[in-house]
């Protein structure tokens, strides 16, 4: 895509940050860097100036594959009519206090 037309530009990386131990890494944003090590160091400076993270993942943006938003309707539709997958679908007698 646009990147390839621009040979001198450092590649684009997506940054994921774990905000504290036990939580998932979450997408924080993106940045340019020559390699993975520089991407991690830049991510520290750009996205964790206020202790926002304890762990950083970076991946070159060109390796991210995403679902097509135009297919969202059909893609997620089958889940729509399966309300029995939610606990609220089931009626319990009032006598059951905890479940």
């Amino acid at each position: 895509m646009a990147q390839e037309t621009n040979k001198n530009e450092w590649p684009l990386w997506e940054v994921f940050i774990r905000s504290k131990a036990g939580l998932d890494h979450k997408h924080a944003g993106s940045l340019h860097a020559a390699d993975a090590q520089m991407a991690i160091e830049n991510a520290r400076d750009v996205y964790t100036r206020r202790m926002e993270g304890v762990s950083i993942w970076v991946v070159e943006s060109k390796y991210i594959h995403a679902s097509d938003p135009d297919e969202a309707a059909s893609m997620y539709d089958p889940a729509n009519d399966k309300i029995y997958r939610h606990p609220t679908f089931y009626n319990l007698p009032d006598e059951v206090k905890y479940m």
Partner: protein, 317 residues
């Protein structure tokens, strides 16, 4: 889907306050307007480091120096968040830099004014960042996802910028007579340019209506300017400084302050490139970019060499 139904779907998302994401279909004008607005904002953050950078080595104490350094570093970060958001719309970083360096892209005209005294660091934080926050808070709910998310991050970090500026002004205005004079002088010079930061009056802002419709803008220039005047006048009272506007008066009926006429001639002149520092700011940016070229090239060459070495190691193993 036909273009027409794509458009209908897009309008429907906008009306329902659903966020637009990079891969969603969007009208070409929406994309262009966003690239222009986001990159102008990014350029403003980057050029905005220069007037303050001027005072880092001359800050009056280590505390002030550390604070100013942190603020300027934040501005670099804000520029980067925003450039990344613009890039999701299909423009490259180099194209954006090129637009700035060639003078094709604009940045906030306020940064073309000089920072003559230490009190200017106070006035910039208090007024310029104050005005910027006023502008930016509504943009946290803007329709384009990457932009809105970048703005949430920016706004979270920006509030310390305004407070540190106000603190500088407060210290000066409670200090010796000469310090109070410095504060008042900085206030006098930065007040009007700060009001101009909200852009031309609504009547002369042809894109406002469309931008509000698209939720790229959530309040008009005049609405934001009035809001800024109302809160800042009260803050000036706490500082014991005089707002440099003889027409400023509380209007009971409107529930707002009335204020004097803004010199739009000056505004247009600075935007056109004839402000006191336009040339200097742009030259500093260009020089930084050109002088950094060998570093960028070397880093790329080093990364490629390491990658190649890794490949041979793998083959050898």
């Amino acid at each position: 889907m036909t273009v027409h139904s794509f458009q209908e779907h897009f309008d429907d998302l906008i009306d329902r306050e659903v966020t637009i994401e990079p891969k969603d279909w969007m009208p070409e004008d929406y994309r262009k307007t966003l690239i222009r607005q986001i990159s102008q904002h990014a350029h403003s953050e980057i050029v905005g480091m220069l007037p303050e950078g001027n005072w880092i080595t001359r800050a009056p104490s280590l505390r002030r120096k550390a604070v100013l350094l942190a603020k300027v570093q934040d501005e670099a970060g804000h520029g980067l968040y925003l450039y990344s958001a613009a890039e999701t719309l299909g423009v490259t970083r180099d194209e954006l830099y090129d637009q700035l360096h060639s003078g094709k892209a604009k940045y906030s005209s306020i940064f073309n004014y000089p920072t003559l005294t230490w009190a200017d660091m106070g006035a910039i934080g208090w007024l310029v960042d104050g005005a910027a926050i006023m502008n930016q808070v509504p943009l946290c709910r803007t329709s384009y996802g990457p932009y809105a998310r970048a703005m949430v991050r920016v706004c979270k970090e920006e509030s310390f910028h305004q407070r540190q500026g106000f603190e500088i002004m407060l210290t000066l205005s409670k200090g010796a007579e000469v310090q109070k004079k410095l504060a008042q002088d900085a206030f006098n010079r930065w007040w009007w340019p700060s009001l101009m930061m909200f852009g031309p009056p609504d009547a002369e802002s042809p894109h406002t209506e469309q931008s509000v419709r698209w939720r790229i803008k959530r309040m008009t220039n005049d609405e934001l300017r009035q809001k800024f005047v109302d809160v800042t006048v009260e803050q000036a009272k706490v500082l014991g400084l005089d707002v440099p506007d003889k027409d400023l008066k509380w209007n009971e009926a409107r529930g707002h302050y009335d204020f004097g006429a803004i010199n739009w001639e000056e505004f247009r002149n600075v935007v056109k490139g004839n402000g006191p520092c336009n040339k200097q700011r742009l030259e500093t940016r260009k020089k930084a970019w050109e002088n950094g070229k060998w570093v960028r090239d070397a880093a790329m060459a080093h990364a490629e060499k390491r990658k190649a070495r890794k490949m041979t190691d793998v083959k050898a193993a």
